[in-house]
């Protein structure tokens, strides 16, 4: 169990070095801004960590012509409501570090991104996903039995990068024994095609088979993406979560308990292997 806790700690401490650069066409001043470097937590969300970036970049854009700040990686707008780690696994898995992101203040891609007016929007989104996860795990009973201040503790633990604070509450949500055993495993699979578009797959998967056998990551993928596993094409994909590729034998329920993001979902990315990759 000490190992488990160490893993939780490692997961929590996962960070990604990011280099923010203002989009060239949006530079308004004569002087070009320096790129801005940040080491951002994987488990967090971009709107929670980019205040400084905003302050730095806003000085160089047309003050009369800018809207909400949004980020882009190699032409791909980044959804703020995905955890940063998921975005990196999806798009930046093979990229050089630090991860170079372009900052935009214009031409908001309405079709692809959701607006994020303030941090409250992030919080309400986060809580909603958390509830969904609990609905799957405990029919929503664990989260509903909590008080509002517990919700706040969860949120501020995440915002302020306080592992102990967060887990003091989160452990109740992760309760998995007896009455409180998980009904289903909350997970989302991001299936990326070569054009770097992706599909989100979410299905009902129980923690154990009817035979009592634990469901492994492989079983989970069999259920979630039957097309791929039937054709044996699973080998052509990296199965990535939290920046690592766990063995397919790993029990799904253990993954859910330890490798889930703070929103209590397992976010698993299926990234196609590049031809010349060994």
């Amino acid at each position: 169990m000490a190992e488990d806790r160490e893993i939780l700690k490692e997961i929590w401490e996962g960070k990604i070095p990011v280099c923010f650069e203002l989009a060239n066409e949006e530079i308004y001043t004569v002087e070009h801004p320096d790129p801005f470097f940040l080491l951002v937590p994987r488990l967090s969300y971009f709107p929670l960590v980019t205040d400084k970036v905003f302050k730095h970049m806003i000085k160089y854009v047309d003050p009369d012509n800018h809207s909400e700040m949004w980020l882009e990686y190699e032409g791909q707008p980044l959804r703020w409501h995905y955890p940063i780690g998921v975005l990196f696994d999806l798009y930046g898995h093979q990229s050089e570090l630090p991860w170079k992101l372009t900052v935009h203040f214009q031409n908001f891609p309405e079709d692809e991104l959701l607006h994020c007016p303030n941090k409250d929007a992030v919080e309400s989104h986060f809580m909603s996903v958390l509830k969904e996860a609990d609905a799957l795990k405990h029919r929503g009973q664990a989260i509903n039995s909590m008080q509002r201040k517990d919700h706040k503790t969860l949120w501020s633990g995440l915002m302020n990068d306080k592992f102990d604070q967060f887990w003091s509450v989160n452990k109740k949500l992760m309760e998995n024994s007896g009455e409180e055993a998980f009904k289903y495993i909350p997970f989302r699979i991001y299936l990326t095609s070569k054009s770097s578009e992706h599909v989100v797959i979410q299905k009902l998967v129980k923690p154990s088979e009817d035979t009592g056998e634990n469901v492994t990551l492989r079983h989970l993928l069999d259920v979630a993406v039957p097309d791929l596993s039937e054709k044996g094409e699973l080998d052509k994909y990296h199965v990535v979560t939290q920046g690592i590729e766990p063995l397919l034998e790993t029990p799904a329920v253990w993954m859910s308990e330890h490798l889930s993001y703070p929103d209590n979902f397992l976010h698993i990315c299926l990234i196609p292997r590049v031809e010349n990759e060994s």
């Binding site: 766990p246 034998e249 029990p251």
Partner: protein, 546 residues
């Protein structure tokens, strides 16, 4: 745990590697970079500040340098400068003054505007006042017109008043004159009356004298003649027939026109030798029946209205007639002269009867009964009966029975003082007539509800009620009578028939048909053999079988 070691250590390992690869190389770099960036921005800010400072210092320096360079031409320029300064000062002064002036102008303008506004205000006020003035003038004119109108009206009223005053004076004069004339006439009339009285007295005296003379002569003659006295001869009193039993006549023996209008009343004399009728023509006529003929024995005049009731005195010497002219009158039969006029009622007199030879009682529509004394020719008692009296009868000289409009029969005794009746009996209809039986023990009452009731006076109750299908009481003073032997009752009906009931059998004995109008009254001959009845036409019918 041991079995899971593989995948778990794999994960642990990878995580470890991940963090080492992604964090460790960058953490210090990024931190340094961030710090450097912060410092840069601080320096940048400082730089900007310093540049601003430098700029400022440069400016200052320039200024000083320029000041030092101009030191040479100091003397001439100084004077010029001073001049310039003065001029400038002057200019400033002028400007100031101009400013002041313009300020003044502005002030004045403002004042002017204010004044103008005031004037406008005043103008408005004046125009207001003018309009008010006009309105007031108009009002005044209207009021004047009203006053003129009122004055005209007043004048007219005054004139009218004067005219009326004059007319009044004239009328008053006329009235005065009429009064004088009246007084004159009254005086003359009194004189005439006194003369008449004297004449009457003289006549009476003559009459008495003549009678005495005749009596004396008769006595003388009688004394001369030898008279044989018939001892069988009865007393000299009037013959009063006694009826053993009455017979109901079935034939109209005689029908004749008695009066020139309705015949209200009919009454046999006490002796049964003749009968009297009274009518709307204000006359009382006396009739004597001889076989099939009725001969007029005389006419009693003096009444000013129709005769409503008749009654003979017990000795047949006098007859009293009640009249619609509010009076009752007494005539003597022998000389057929009006002896007494009994006035005092304030309504028509419905019935008048002899109480004794010298007392008469009358009942009137004015709801009073009055008792008259013929000796003193005055009303000796007035009884306030409370209801209009339609008929009355007397018995024993002191008691009176009266029948009233309020359906009551009242009993009075004239000896008692006060107005209360001794007794009263309530019947079912208004009373039209009363008739006392010969033995004075029964009273026949005719009421407007078309029935006849016989009161037993000793029992004070109704002993018999007589009705008939055709029998209708037509008016308020229809009269019904007992037969002398109190076996029968006769009454006239509004259908023109005379109904005769048998009391004992309590049924109609006979219906006598001859009249062509409603039968108003009837009277049974004291001998019991004939009936006389009168009607609303002019006819009187004498019913007799002999």
């Amino acid at each position: 745990m041991a079995t899971s070691a593989d995948w778990k250590s794999h994960i642990h390992c990878q995580l470890h590697r991940r963090n080492r690869k992604q964090i460790d190389p960058f953490i210090s770099l990024i931190q340094t970079n961030n710090r450097l960036q912060e410092i840069t921005s601080q320096l940048h800010l400082k730089n900007v500040h310093l540049q601003v400072e430098v700029e400022r210092l440069k400016e200052e320096n320039n200024h000083q340098i320029r000041g030092d360079g101009l030191g040479g031409n100091n003397a001439s320029t100084h004077a010029l400068e001073q001049k310039l300064f003065k001029l400038q000062e002057e200019l400033t002064e002028m400007h100031k003054k101009r400013g002041e002036n313009s300020q003044q102008i502005i002030d004045l303008n403002a004042l002017l505007q204010e004044k103008e506004k005031e004037i406008q205000h005043k103008d408005a006020m004046i125009s207001d006042t003018v309009t008010t003035n006009i309105a007031l003038k108009q009002a005044k004119k209207n009021l004047e017109m009203t006053i003129a109108e009122l004055e005209a009206t007043n004048q007219m009223l005054k004139d009218e008043h004067q005219a009326l005053q004059m007319a009044f004076t004239a009328l008053e004069e006329k009235y005065q004159k009429a009064m004088e004339d009246n007084n004159d006439l009254v005086q003359r009339w009194m004189e005439q009356k006194a003369k008449d009285a004297d004449k009457m007295n003289a006549e009476n005296a003559d009459f008495i004298k003549a009678r005495q003379q005749r009596l004396a002569r008769d006595l003388e003659e009688a004394a001369k003649e030898q008279v044989t006295v018939d001892t069988n001869k009865g007393p000299l009193e009037v013959y009063i027939p006694v009826c053993v039993y009455a017979s109901v006549p079935s034939r109209a023996q005689n029908v004749f026109d008695a009066h020139e209008g309705e015949v209200y009343s009919v009454q046999w004399s006490c002796s049964g030798g003749y009968f009297a009728t009274g009518g709307a023509d204000r006359k009382i006529k006396l009739w004597e029946g001889h076989g099939g003929l009725c001969e007029s024995k005389g006419t009693l005049v003096g009444s000013n209205a129709g005769i409503t009731s008749l009654d003979f005195s017990q000795d047949d010497l006098m007859i009293v007639g009640a009249s619609n002219d509010f009076a009752s009158r007494v005539w003597t039969i022998n000389d057929q002269r009006l002896r007494h006029t009994l006035t005092g009622h304030s309504g028509k007199v419905m019935s008048a009867k002899f109480l004794t030879e010298s007392k008469i009682v009358s009942g009137s529509h004015d709801r009073t009964l009055k008792v008259w004394d013929l000796n003193s020719k005055a009303c000796v008692k007035t009884i306030f009966a409370g209801s209009s009296c339609n008929d009355l009868v007397s018995s024993h000289g002191t008691s009176i029975i009266s029948g009233h409009f309020d359906k009551r029969v009242r009993f009075w005794d004239i000896r008692t003082s006060g107005d209360s009746s001794i007794n009263e009996i309530l019947l079912t209809g208004r009373l039209t007539s009363l008739c006392l039986s010969t033995d004075k023990s029964q009273l026949l009452c005719c009421t407007r509800d078309d029935c006849l009731k016989i009161l037993d006076l000793r029992m004070n109750q109704v002993s018999c009620t007589l009705v008939s299908d055709g029998f209708k009481v037509g008016w308020d003073s229809a009269r019904a009578v007992f037969s002398p032997d109190v076996e029968y009752v006769a009454a006239g009906s509004s259908d023109g028939n005379l109904y005769v009931w048998n009391i004992a059998k309590n049924k109609v004995e006979k219906v006598l048909k001859e009249h062509s109008h409603a039968v108003l009254a009837c009277s049974w001959n004291p001998a019991g053999t004939s009936i006389v009845s009168c009607e609303k036409g002019r006819k009187v019918v004498l019913w007799s079988d002999y």
